[in-house]
Symmetry: C2
Subunit: 310 residues, 2 copies
């Protein structure tokens, strides 16, 4: 498994159809596990793909359309029945809080774990939390209801030390962390050994952006430019551009155009309309504009960065 | 298809497991369609078994444990997205009303159909509504939370006329309905023709009782005596009798004992614990006490009355 990986649990829009499930994704970064949106049946999909509820650290909900949150209370309830004790962080629209409260109240006994609900603002690009290795920000999406996308960026990594150089210049262990951070080393004789002699460039920091649901919006480009993996909704095929605009959704061409302009590493499209059973046209159309595109298919994992042929 | 039939959409308890879905059943009587409980994913199960959401007339919710109602708002939302206009009747605990309201409020535009919510009382055997051909009553179940079971009884049927006798005694068409209701016929000469000459016994009226969730409770016997089909929860195997009592649930033996004492036609057991992957012990144990028992398995239909070997 890759250290930074996206797993798709569902990518259908609105009404469940053709055996496809509504929006839900698991973003894993080392030991940190984040659920992004939680349509109905998300806990069943987690069972199906052997993803442990107990391992979830964060849940992020983009907006108040049911296909993005109707599975949340069921998932929380199962965590309780499984005896979870670890605190859980939930970030979502303020309207979600009373819905959770109302449905976690009518149950036997106290809840075994603390739910920390963090109400998100809308219309702003801002950092919403930091985990050990990730910085998570909200993306201002334009949809019928207030809606946030999410940007996940690895924190800058430490430089890689060169063991032979450390030995050669007799660098004590106590100095290693500073050297990883980029400091030069001054030895007991007062001589300065430059950092680039002792360490190599830090590995690149990767990023993932989640943009569902949104109308075609070039204002997004500034926030998602150069991300390694972009999930952008493509509810409709290109022929339905008018319908997409009317419903504040995007088409295949529009999603791919955003990916192309933002020069992302790879594009995943999803939030497929129930109108289409066969999804092959989605892929063909998106690849007409941006060839590095895949369908966000349930049960599939996508490493970040995603290399075609993985 | 039988005129009176039960279809199982889910019969697992609490935490979803082993690919089994939480409680939900469709009771069909002629053209009337009633959903009994609505655990998470009920709408997916309806899709899977080609049961049309649009045909539902009534939804009944027994109690406020999530495995019996977490699928409700998603189902309602899909009905809206499908453009339903026909009113829908929902009967359930009063606490359900604000949960529905809160989640049907945050959505674009008005709802296309009227939801008539009827708050049920608990602890009483009483008629809660009548459809064209059924009388539906609540059953006072004993569970951790206030809980109703439901009894569905066909209304008494009309007597069957004997066409040859009607012809022989020159009975005018205007009299036929009265004869079906049991009246004698007085001809133009003032002679009385007894009803039993003109008609045969009405067909039997059948009944179905739904008892989930409940502790073993002989007080139920008075209400469900002689029903043609009984669904009684059997969350646990007989070895877990203490655990069952502690959690206000029943065992296989207890469910079967209720069926035996109530002299029901056939017993369905369900609400299986996630603890057991293989359900065969449930059936074996229940049949030790009451042989006319089946497992309430997802995707199975049970005619009422149920004849083994159907």
């Amino acid at each position: 498994m890759s250290a930074f990986e996206l797993f798709i649990l569902g990518s259908n829009s609105a009404v469940p159809a053709h055996g496809r499930n509504p929006s839900a994704q698991i973003l894993k970064h080392k030991s940190c596990s984040i659920l992004i949106d939680c349509g109905e049946g998300t806990q069943f999909q987690m069972n199906r793909y052997h993803i442990k509820r107990a391992n979830l650290d964060y849940i992020l909900i983009s907006h108040m359309h049911g296909d993005h949150y109707f599975g949340l209370v069921g998932l929380l309830n199962s965590m309780r029945l499984n005896g979870r004790t670890r605190e859980l962080q939930i970030y979502g629209p303020p309207e979600l809080d009373p819905i959770i409260r109302l449905q976690t109240h009518y149950d036997e006994g106290d809840w075994s774990f603390q739910i920390n609900f963090h109400a998100l603002e809308f219309g702003k690009f801002q950092v919403i939390f930091e985990s050990a290795d990730l910085i998570v920000s909200s993306l201002p999406l334009k949809h019928k209801l207030p809606c946030n996308g999410f940007l996940f960026k690895e924190k800058p990594k430490l430089r890689t030390i060169i063991p032979e150089a450390l030995e050669k210049f007799a660098v004590p262990n106590s100095e290693i962390f500073k050297i990883k951070q980029g400091s030069d080393f001054i030895n007991s004789k007062g001589e300065t050994i430059l950092n680039q002699v002792l360490s190599k460039e830090a590995k690149a920091s990767f990023s993932y952006a989640y943009c569902s649901d949104t109308i075609y919006d070039e204002d997004l480009l500034a926030y998602i430019a150069g991300v390694d993996l972009l999930y952008h909704e493509a509810t409709f095929l290109k022929e339905d551009e008018e319908k997409a605009a009317l419903r504040y959704h995007s088409t295949t061409w529009q999603a791919a155009s955003i990916a192309k302009q933002a020069e992302v590493g790879h594009l995943l499209i999803g939030h497929f309309s129930a109108k289409y059973k066969d999804l092959s046209s989605y892929l063909i159309e998106a690849q007409e504009i941006f060839s590095d595109t895949s369908l966000a298919l349930e049960g599939n994992a996508y490493a970040i960065p995603y290399l075609v042929g993985q």
